[in-house]
């Protein structure tokens, strides 16, 4: 079966003041339909560049992005835009403070003419309920809503497009632990219910362990390691992945044990 998304020898170089900066170099990676594929890395790893290239917010300097086997052009059609959606990191800025919650969630329905217009208000309420909010919230302003509530609304807006793929760019890193847990559960439920594919961009390996099915580790614009989530955590192949897992602050003895084993492994490997 064709992967839903393929990055083929993808590269991005920025030119600035006469010298060039390589943000992404020669990345080939396939995303299978229905998986939650985590893109992990620290700052400068190229993970944000991948998000921008997949969403068409930037054009690659090398290689191409294929969606369902078809190369995505520089200027995408509305259908192509609709199929790939985004949930951003900062829920405070992701909603227009001067538009109602309902208007924000309804926007994709109007843009893509999804359903008859008289049924769209009902659809908005249903979407809000699906992400665990009260349908009545449509009438409210985002002002005064919590980060968790706003992030749920942003998820409802992405869902309204009826996308195939959602790029989740650090979607829970601005949220408190208890809120994060519930949003992660919501995301998992939605993926299963709608057969969605996620690209989950994050620096938090514990979150990756909780939600991802597959992990790709990036360092300085290059793909370092990719594999199923269990394999990455039980037997990381590269020193960098071991270093990343070894740096996670842990809270339980089981975690500490796993981490110490991984740290010991990297010492044994002589790094």
């Amino acid at each position: 079966m064709t992967p839903i998304l393929e990055l083929d020898r993808l590269g991005k170089t920025f030119e600035a003041d006469g010298h060039s900066v390589v943000a992404l170099a020669d990345v080939s990676l396939a995303f299978e339909r229905g998986e939650c594929h985590a893109i992990v890395g620290e700052s400068g790893s190229g993970k944000t560049t991948i998000a921008n290239l997949v969403l068409g917010l930037m054009q690659p300097t090398e290689g191409e992005v294929r969606f369902n086997g078809v190369k995505l052009p520089g200027l995408r059609s509305r259908q192509q835009k609709r199929a790939i959606q985004l949930v951003q990191q900062n829920p405070l800025s992701a909603l227009n403070p001067r538009r109602s919650v309902g208007a924000s969630v309804r926007l994709p329905l109007d843009v893509h003419e999804i359903g008859p217009s008289r049924e769209r208000a009902g659809r908005v309420a249903a979407l809000l309920e699906e992400v665990g909010l009260d349908g009545e919230m449509a009438r409210r302003s985002p002002r005064g809503l919590s980060g968790g509530q706003r992030q749920r609304i942003a998820i409802a807006r992405a869902l309204a497009c009826e996308p195939e793929l959602i790029v989740l760019d650090e979607p829970t890193s601005a949220l408190d632990v208890l809120v994060q847990a519930r949003v992660l559960q919501l995301l998992h439920r939605l993926r299963v219910a709608h057969g969605l594919t996620y690209i989950f961009i994050t620096h938090d390996l514990a979150v990756v362990r909780a939600i991802a099915t597959r992990v790709s580790v990036f360092q300085k614009g290059r793909l370092v390691e990719t594999g199923p989530v269990e394999a990455i955590f039980s037997d990381p192949k590269t020193a960098y992945t071991r270093q990343l897992i070894g740096a996670v602050p842990v809270v339980t003895p089981e975690e500490a044990k796993l981490r110490d084993a991984i740290r010991a492994g990297s010492e044994a490997a002589g790094t």
Partner: protein, 295 residues
Amino acid sequence: MSEPVLTIRDLRLAFGGRRGHPVLHGISLHVRAGEKVALVGESGSGKSVTARLAMGLLQESPRVHATGSIRFDGIEAISGGRDIARRRGNRVAMIFQDPTSALNPTFRIRGQFRDVLRSGDRGISAAEADRRAEAALAEVSIPDPKRALDSYAFQLSGGMNQRVMIAMALANRPALLIADEPGTALDVTVQAQTLGLMSDLTEKRGTAVLLISHNLGVVREFSDRVYVIYRGRIVEHGTTAQLFAEPRHPYTRALLAAIPKISGGGLPDLPERSPEFESPLIVHEGCGEPVEARA
């Protein structure tokens, strides 16, 4: 057991005056000499406000109404008047979340470091200050201290800036270091390094630390004793070992359960908020009332 350097008693605070929006509902905590204590909570819990009050940074704001007591070295910070920060001199230092914005972008590190050292020792010569600054930067494993001193903050990486901040904060040998979410803005590997560094240095010098954090993992690795704060109240207090091995307050349990683990396991279905979280304070054995701060 040594006596506390910092004692906070029944600290209450409201924004917007006496009848304003209450933020703290009677916080009591203490930090003993050489001890590493963590105050852990979510955003809006009041942990950062407590740190700022302890540092003497909020009292002068007309919108803030604070009561209770914050005693450091026998100096009262709540009713002590306007010049708390000056009277304490260099006995308390602070490290902030974002090191790059805590340093002045328009001056080289050298000048800022000299100012810090001069505030501890007015008579120090420029040459002596530079010598001590270099030694301090070497101590935080900065590879080329001379070059770092001649740099501006924006020319150094976030991790480097954090090390410079730690070196500056400890340069005058404070009795207490207040660290507000140190390294949260940094990458995980860099954060781990800077926390390790801070831990080693403060231990070596016997500096007490009050760590403010939302990250239970960081707290577990760094501190000796933990206070958990929820919506302006301390809900659980114990040694780090007690609290992580046997969390007893519903809120602490929920927090620990909700953190994703690298060892796997699903996430529990927990509410974001619950009346249970407001149940009374639980103090673990041996963590009772402290002796008064020395006068």
